[in-house]
């Protein structure tokens, strides 16, 4: 299936032994990586997975001396027979790019905005091939861009990064990485900043490059779907140590370490039955609408000389009492704008939004305040949406104070009750948000949204800033509370697997328009629209066997589409 069923004898390309990295801080030194060891064979893809902060990136950066001065590195890393640790100046520059290349997470910040992409690829080439002339470098840049699947490379070579889409920018990054035929590519979360469909295309490209060029890849990621799709072998990092290393299929089949087991059981899996923890009695959805959106359009003023941007156009939908309606779409689909409009943070250009029987567009002053008392909102990033100068108790009680509900004693009791409901110990009330973990903060945020017993809750990507292992628990709490309290919910997300776990109905948006609307089962299992089908096919599932089948199926679908002459470029 892959080119890694090697005809060559299992040779070791990169050997890492007892690599440790520690950082000097104001306090005690922080040990980020603790004596990790692993090997990479030529042409192999090794995935390093772990929580954010588990040291997976630091460990790889240490090999190419890309750490700040406060880091001290011990142990060894050998590329063939060359010791990498301790290389300085010219010696390490000769390794970087030429033998070990890197792909970064955020392509839009990793490219220089004031140079054309052709210049940037050409520069990478000329650094390692000083005899190469500019015309040669440019010609090679065009070749490379063609290789990574950028349409019209001869024209695009003159583009500046902002003229390209996120996926194309990441392709340029990959073109730069492979420009000098490196032996190893370190891909640090190469698809995290991208949409699912773009992610699928980049994964296809990495697959393809590995098969054609035989480059070894070290894939750093937290997305188990991506691991299942691409990796031959997996190393699991937990608190700076590698706790488990195995072939991908074996790791997914029989995880050994408790952390691996926890991680795998937390990953939402599109198409699998909902976990038992979410099967509490749900309130019955009634026909009484809580939110009615009719023919809603929202425009934003465009840049000088350009027309307005249509963030949302002609969307009509309703949210029923007790129902979770998931609003799904890729970045730029207008889903967040729609959600913000429903709570009155954005004014619509045309159309009507009725929330709890009142027109939120026309509501002003007192009516809007009363309405907001009955609406909760959970923001995407809990670290930013909780006031850092207020204690947890003050944050949760804030809506009660604003609406002058209850006496101080009643408020304290209600805060305690809610912290308990979101499974946080009572003494957290006195802490400040920065003293909490991401998952705990998001549960505080949920408690704040629910403190006034709202009839309607808007959740804007509530788990996308969290690690998977933490996400599961937040979702558990969320679903249990929805079942207990029965609020209606507009759940905005880009993650179809999460949607599959909790939604009653799903609305799919694309470029501001509503593409498909239906109940959970019919939209995810039998999508009516091509776009929805693409979206579902693009989600990698955390199971190597299933993912391999899915990939084959996708390839067939694409071949079919190409033969019909309907090939879509990104």
């Amino acid at each position: 299936m892959t080119a890694t069923s090697p005809a060559v004898a299992p040779k070791i390309l990169l050997r890492v032994e007892n690599l440790s990295v520690s950082f000097r801080t104001d306090g005690a030194p922080v040990q980020a990586v603790k004596a990790i060891s692993y090997d990479v064979a030529p042409g192999e893809t090794l995935a390093i997975v772990g929580e954010s902060g588990s040291g997976k990136t630091v460990g790889c950066r240490a090999m190419v001396s890309l750490l700040p001065d406060s880091a001290s590195v011990r142990g060894g890393a050998w590329l063939d027979d060359q010791e990498l640790i301790g290389l300085k100046g010219e010696a390490i520059r000769r390794v970087r790019g030429d033998r070990i290349a890197m792909i970064f997470q955020e392509p839009s910040t990793a490219l220089d905005p004031v140079r054309t992409v052709g210049w940037q690829i050409g520069q990478a080439l000329r650094v390692h091939h000083p005899k190469m002339t500019w015309p040669q470098a440019r010609a090679r840049a065009v070749e490379l861009m063609e290789l990574v699947g950028i349409p019209d490379p001869a024209i695009r070579v003159q583009s500046y990064p902002h003229q390209l889409s996120g996926g194309q920018k990441q392709r340029v990054m990959i073109a730069m990485a492979i420009s000098c035929d490196p032996e190893i590519i370190i891909a640090d979360e190469p698809t995290t900043a991208l949409d699912v469909t773009t992610q699928a295309q980049i994964l296809d490209l990495l697959h393809d490059l590995r098969d054609r060029l035989g480059t070894a890849i070290i894939l750093i990621t937290h997305n188990m779907g991506v691991v299942a799709d691409l990796a031959d072998r997996v190393a699991v990092m937990y608190r700076g140590e590698i706790v488990e290393q195995a072939e991908a299929r074996q790791l997914f089949g029989q995880p050994q370490h408790p952390y691996t087991r926890h991680l795998l059981s937390s990953v939402p899996h599109l198409g699998q039955p909902r976990p038992a923890s979410m099967n509490t009695a749900a309130p019955t959805v009634t026909d009484r609408p809580v939110v009615e959106i009719e023919d809603l359009s929202i425009d934003f003023p465009g840049r000088l000389g350009q027309g307005p941007v249509h963030a949302v156009s002609q969307v009509s939908l309703t949210v029923q009492e007790h129902e979770i309606l998931a609003l799904v779409g890729e970045s730029g689909s207008g889903k967040t704008t729609l959600a913000r409009c429903v709570v009155g943070l954005v004014k619509p250009t045309r159309g009507q939004v009725r929330v709890l029987g009142a027109d939120i567009v026309k509501a002003g002053g007192r009516q809007l305040r009363q309405l907001r008392q009955r609406i909760g909102f959970v923001f995407q990033d809990p670290a930013a949406s909780l006031n850092p100068r207020m204690t947890v108790a003050a944050c949760v009680a804030e809506p009660m104070r604003v609406h002058e509900v209850g006496t101080p004693a009643e408020r304290r009791a209600r805060v305690e009750e809610l912290l308990d409901a979101v499974e946080l110990p009572g003494d957290f009330a006195r802490r400040y948000p920065h003293e909490l973990s991401g998952g705990q903060r998001q549960r505080v945020s949920l408690a704040r949204a629910l403190v006034l017993r709202p009839q309607f809750l808007v959740a804007d990507e509530p788990t996308s800033a969290l690690d998977v292992s933490v996400q599961a628990r937040v979702l558990d709490v969320f679903v249990r509370l929805q079942h207990e309290m029965g609020f209606a919910c507009l759940f905005v997300t880009h993650d179809l697997a999460v949607v599959d776990m909790l939604a009653d109905r799903i609305a799919v948006m694309r470029q501001g328009r509503l593409v498909e609307l239906g109940d959970d089962r019919s939209v995810l299992r039998h999508p009516a629209q091509d776009y929805t089908r693409d979206l579902i096919a693009a989600v990698p599932v955390p199971d190597p066997v299933e993912q391999a089948e899915k990939r084959a199926l996708r390839r067939a679908l694409r071949a079919e589409a190409a033969s019909l002459g309907a090939g879509r470029t990104d």
């Binding site: 604003v402 003494d427 003293e435």
Partner: protein, 361 residues
């Protein structure tokens, strides 16, 4: 089970919130700590001297003796041209200096901060007009401005209260634009933060948002600005006194005035009337500046090295992994007994991978 989980959630509390000064000192190191300590000691000496001036000073600030007496047991630092006792003037002068500084800083914070907050949060035409006015004030030479204001307020020179107030007000006018700018710019950054938006969604009104949510998040730079301004205030006060727009010598002791009067004596070898007030000014300005600079280093997060930001995240993760390991062991227990027997016979290596999880419990 759930009780266990609660117990495991290691509370990563920061040590003692009780004494802000101590916590501040603890977060400093080496040279920075030395700067902060020296500054604090210098300022503390002046505060004590100012508070107990009536007890410490040998004479009143306006008591007259014969002029130009050298240092003696009766007059430890001699007397001035006008016949005042130098030591007493310096001690009483500390009182004037601290009164003026405190008044000036409180006034400029009381006016500058709310103006900046409203201007930044409301924006639009109001913001534009306020910025224009403040920029005009800012562009004016500060000493000239202080002279103009002191003439307007008190006709140039006057008695105790009017003198102190006019000096304080003229310094205030110079400082308001600084607080205004710092607070306004910070407000503009903070008002688009999600937590401000969260407050809006909750239904909080603009006043509550500005003073309940925004103010506490823009106020961290005010202490730094206040201490740095304090040293400037002393210099401005001294300059006003030196130029003759300060406080009458019979109303209160003021170092700048004494410096001015000392000029005539310099050529005839009378050095003590000028050097000691000058030293007092240098010492208090140095002290306040040192505090301000080290506060700036400590409070500015960009200049601070980060330390273990993910501790709470780690604690939560460990807890969950341990719960997983525990659950595994419970479900595996009956199987394990059988497996143990198997394992003894087979050459399969013992399952080491469980160890790290267990050790952390």
């Amino acid at each position: 089970m759930s009780a266990d989980l609660l117990a495991l959630e290691a509370p990563p509390r920061r040590p003692g919130r009780s004494l802000p000064g101590l916590a501040l000192l603890r977060s400093t190191h080496g040279l920075q700590r030395l700067m902060l300590l020296i500054g604090a000691v210098l300022v503390a000496i002046f505060v004590v001297v100012a508070l107990f001036a009536p007890l410490l000073a040998p004479y009143g600030f306006a008591e007259l003796f014969s002029g130009h007496l050298p240092m003696s047991a009766e007059h430890p630092l001699g007397t001035t041209v006008g016949g005042y006792d130098v030591l007493s003037r310096i001690i009483w002068g500390a009182r004037t200096a601290i009164e003026v500084i405190a008044l000036a800083i409180v006034l400029s914070i009381l006016i500058g901060v709310p103006l900046g907050l409203v201007s930044g949060y409301v924006g639009g035409p109001l913001d534009r007009v306020l910025v224009l006015v403040m920029d005009a004030l800012f562009a004016f030479p500060s000493l000239l401005m202080a002279i103009v204001v002191s003439i307007v307020v008190a006709g140039g020179r006057s008695g105790v209260l009017a003198g102190i107030v006019s000096a304080a007000v003229s310094i205030t006018v110079i400082f308001i634009p600084q607080y205004f700018r710092v607070v306004r710019n910070a407000t503009i950054q903070v008002k688009v933060e999600p937590y401000v938006e969260a407050a809006r969604v909750v239904g909080a009104g603009p006043t509550r948002i500005m003073f309940g949510h925004v103010l506490s998040n823009v106020s961290q730079s005010i202490p730094v600005l206040a201490t740095l301004n304090a040293s400037e205030a002393i210099l401005t006060l001294a300059s006003l006194g030196f130029l003759g727009f300060g406080i009458e010598p019979t109303s209160a002791a003021e170092w700048g005035y004494d410096l001015n009067k000392a000029m005539s004596g310099v050529s005839s070898g009378v050095w003590w009337t000028g050097v000691f007030p000058g030293l007092a000014i240098v010492a208090i300005v140095t002290g306040v500046t040192l505090i301000g600079e080290s506060l700036n280093d400590v409070l500015n997060p960009l200049l601070r090295t980060r330390g273990g930001a993910s501790t709470a995240d780690e604690a939560e993760l460990i807890e969950m992994v341990e719960a997983e390991a525990e659950a595994d062991q419970e479900s595996l227990a009956p199987v394990e007994a059988v497996a143990e027997a198997d394992r003894a016979g087979s050459d399969r290596p013992p399952d080491d991978s469980l160890q790290p999880g267990e050790e952390t419990s």
